[in-house]
Symmetry: D2
Amino acid sequence: MKVSVIGATGYGGIELIRLLQHHPHMHVVSVHSSSQAGVSLHDVYPHIEERFVLRDIRSDDIEGELVFLATPPGVSSEWTPKLLAAGHKVIDLSGDFRLRDGNVYAKWYKKTPPSEEMFKQAVYGLTEWNREHIAKANIVANPGCYPTATLLGLAPLVIQKWVVSDSIIVDAKSGVSGAGRGVSLGVHFAETNENVKIYKVNTHQHIPEIEQMLGDWNDQIGPITFSTHLIPMTRGIMATIYAEAACIVSVDRIIELYEETYKHCPFVRVREAGSFPCTKDVYGSNYCDIGIAYDERTNRITVVSVIDNLMKGAAGQAVQNANVMFGFDEQTGLTAMPMYP
Amino acid sequence: MKVSVIGATGYGGIELIRLLQHHPHMHVVSVHSSSQAGVSLHDVYPHIEERFVLRDIRSDDIEGELVFLATPPGVSSEWTPKLLAAGHKVIDLSGDFRLRDGNVYAKWYKKTPPSEEMFKQAVYGLTEWNREHIAKANIVANPGCYPTATLLGLAPLVIQKWVVSDSIIVDAKSGVSGAGRGVSLGVHFAETNENVKIYKVNTHQHIPEIEQMLGDWNDQIGPITFSTHLIPMTRGIMATIYAEAACIVSVDRIIELYEETYKHCPFVRVREAGSFPCTKDVYGSNYCDIGIAYDERTNRITVVSVIDNLMKGAAGQAVQNANVMFGFDEQTGLTAMPMYP
Amino acid sequence: MKVSVIGATGYGGIELIRLLQHHPHMHVVSVHSSSQAGVSLHDVYPHIEERFVLRDIRSDDIEGELVFLATPPGVSSEWTPKLLAAGHKVIDLSGDFRLRDGNVYAKWYKKTPPSEEMFKQAVYGLTEWNREHIAKANIVANPGCYPTATLLGLAPLVIQKWVVSDSIIVDAKSGVSGAGRGVSLGVHFAETNENVKIYKVNTHQHIPEIEQMLGDWNDQIGPITFSTHLIPMTRGIMATIYAEAACIVSVDRIIELYEETYKHCPFVRVREAGSFPCTKDVYGSNYCDIGIAYDERTNRITVVSVIDNLMKGAAGQAVQNANVMFGFDEQTGLTAMPMYP
Amino acid sequence: MKVSVIGATGYGGIELIRLLQHHPHMHVVSVHSSSQAGVSLHDVYPHIEERFVLRDIRSDDIEGELVFLATPPGVSSEWTPKLLAAGHKVIDLSGDFRLRDGNVYAKWYKKTPPSEEMFKQAVYGLTEWNREHIAKANIVANPGCYPTATLLGLAPLVIQKWVVSDSIIVDAKSGVSGAGRGVSLGVHFAETNENVKIYKVNTHQHIPEIEQMLGDWNDQIGPITFSTHLIPMTRGIMATIYAEAACIVSVDRIIELYEETYKHCPFVRVREAGSFPCTKDVYGSNYCDIGIAYDERTNRITVVSVIDNLMKGAAGQAVQNANVMFGFDEQTGLTAMPMYP
């Protein structure tokens, strides 16, 4: 089947093209960029051999049953209605369709929300937890990188109500590619190297996305504390998650719960007791690796969840969702091992 | 005055030598290393011009009123009694004298503790909070790098009882130099670069050190959750500290408290509301920079505390303590600005 | 077909396993390690799912038509005769069989050379230049990482005698993974990060390997100057090659020569005039990208040749050679695009 | 004495302010920035305590006997005449006054050159080689970072005519801070990390600067090949210099020459035979460390010269020149040891 990528020159876009190059069923037929239309993709990324010429975003020029939108906030809310009208299905990697409430979107994104009707059609694409709806969806809102790591790390505990409902704190660390390819002092090498920075303290737009899903799973869950740190590496996210145990637990019992929960999820791997994943363990792959600790002294559970932010946190999960939407095996085109070191 | 450095070839030792090179009152007269005795320090560190020859650790060969011990755990518990008997004062950068309870030491360090008498003499060298005792001490137990960042970040809130006593979670991130100069797979560049690792989950030996001091300040404080992460940089620690507010607070009110508390502490700098320090802001300096947020949604306070682990977290604070012990201005030799970028 | 990997726990070995996971014709049946026999590979590398147990190196326990040796110097010279006798073909990623002269080997490697008979059987596996012999070989000596980048960058000029025979200088820069997984101060993160080091000045064991091949192409080529630098990254080699033009040339003419030379070499990509590759352009792929400049002021040609040292510089080229040896398309299993960023 | 810094918000400017903070004789009285006038320097660089407000560049507002210009190309050619007329002395860290020939400047900088009269007044500030003229100068053209490392590395050989006059090749590697604080894709962390890039091949504006000085020392020296590479670190330059020996030499004899040449140069340190400096050996210091090899096989000399590009390559050498201009000891304010690690 034919697919298109809009926003092909960003890091999410180029990762999609890398993944789809070897996909047995999906074939990229057109790539689009509003800022660089007319330019060869090879001129933007000389490491790419294929001689795509970037096209402008015009609906009559977009081909394929499926369109991936890897665009900045605000773009897909404009384009998705047109694409749907023209008969395409859409997977949106931006945050435009992840929240269901326009007011919440407006508050955290500081942008005009999509229409309520669009929101209703959009299905949240945390694949492991939404396969049935994704399979029937016309719009999939691909989750944010931080929410993916956090939600996969928290789901079993929240659903089982094993954690105190207002005790969740997530301390997340991300590589710099998560900030995208746009230039700014914040991504300047000399400012970022040999440095850790906390940013958007208590104001990150992924907070409502995480809380919405947690609330769907367990309506008693209160607001969470969620902090994001930029660390000097290119790829990778680690979410270190803290929560108070709400019942008698042990690390073995929790790990058993996670293994049971994710037994049919080939991309979620749970570590045995005492072992914790590092981001390099998932580098370049679609895995989410999870490690768990329980401390009797404090009665707190610590969950460590790692992903590659451009894979399971963006393009990888988008392809996983595309597989589900079109009836292919979920792992198709995504089974590459992590690259180490 | 004359001073000696034992353990001169480690990162703490070499940083002491760098700092003392320009100290107007202290002069390094001998440097010691059990593993490399007889070798010129210049051969170990070609960037050093001074032509010290490393001496073995033999008490009759150690000169100076003051001896800095920058040695691995277990060494200073053996050597300190001999040094005291020979009339030296001691600043110990290792963890041997930081805990007051031999059983706690044995549990977390898995080593034989120093004698109770030695413990009694040792003064905990968190300079800002212990100047009077340090001034009279014969043994100063220089704090660990993580405890320094954490305790300076928590002190005002804990002392004032503005936080719920069992709600403290510390998520700490450190550069690799904190692991010392010893070789292991854990510090191999190819394993550490482009990677974040959590380590010693709930078992780090700095946990009892932090809890002991918190308990001194406020005996209701319960056990804390404290996690340590290795990130791909050489120097720097960030402690992101979370706690539930125990009373009605605002970010302005908390910042006011911190500014008041630290107004006579030249090395502690408090940020204005909305501004948070990164580790580069203190690179190569003795500062501890602190930023504060309060989130009404969760009623949680977030404190961000950064230090250079080899400076305020080790050698810098050791010199600061030496200044206090010998009646010099606390800042002597320590006023270099951070190096940026 | 079945293959085995000896030395599976090193970086070359683990990269082979990553590549062969998706090879349509080759299947890894046993992995071996003298130092960690009996241990599960998953315990050494938790990112690997497959549950191989590392076996000792015992000839009666090694399966498969083909054995990859990814071992330190000196191991394959001992094991290869046994493996050949047992009917295996061998691709050796170490330097043991690359030189044809035992005295040269002994001088540069400071080890006892393999027997002359073994040397005679070994075929140098610079795939692009030796396909016919590789196709018939029982032992392929897989080229070193530096020689691969250097020789592919120099071949057309040397063969055509377009450069002055004693004018070649190669300034090479490598990521730290090239040093292998063994621990030492030289690969300690804190010593390597924020640092460039030159090493083995004029004594690198890859010098005779490069000169031997250059001499085969053009017997007038004199000794070369070849310098190696360690830079703070994990993967990648750049060889910046300088040589004096021996005839009237232009950058366009040289590029034409390279394109003509490599037109049937899918893994060698030549840049257009004015464009130069960086190591990230080949990250995780089997490509060797080449850029060329000619400076009229100095009459010197500059060739910039980049590879991923663990791919085209080790495991990737080994698989490429295996494909040639067993009659598969040269690109089989090696067509993944570079990972960017 | 009072000094001003124009261009205070760039990396050269902020390093000047760091160095001058502890200078016993020079005191920064005003800091200027055309782009951020009116802003507090603390708001631009929160790590700085001093509460300078950035002033615009207006000649009647600039104080002090000496003005440091740490501005982009083209600014100081405009401002220096005004500053001289107002009675200031000037040290220019940009490239505007380094070349003596306006046509050469125009060709390599693609900008209108300063007037010939201005060129005549400007003294090239490679301190070790021009102390007498610097002492009397009104304008010092502070050398570029690459020329400093290269020229100090080449001077003895070129002056003594120990190298073949047209055989010099310089392969230089630089950290990213050398590109300045301006934002661009070229300094984006995700594009620069895990990457080596060659840039400005045969066209770097430092080429004529190096050749001019070499020509002053030895008028037979021909054009040089000079390549620049960006490597993933913040600070540091290594110049690896290759040249053919023009007479019978040995490594010991060459080292002796260097030691003799630089015996009164406290910032140039020559390594003993077999030892080579890395950039970390000079990190944060004003040293230039030099190592030397001679290869009998090729009759080539290799010189390895390292500096901190922001120190000896910019602000450090500027302060060194200021010391010479105003009669202070050359080392004043510059004796800090390198920071390691």
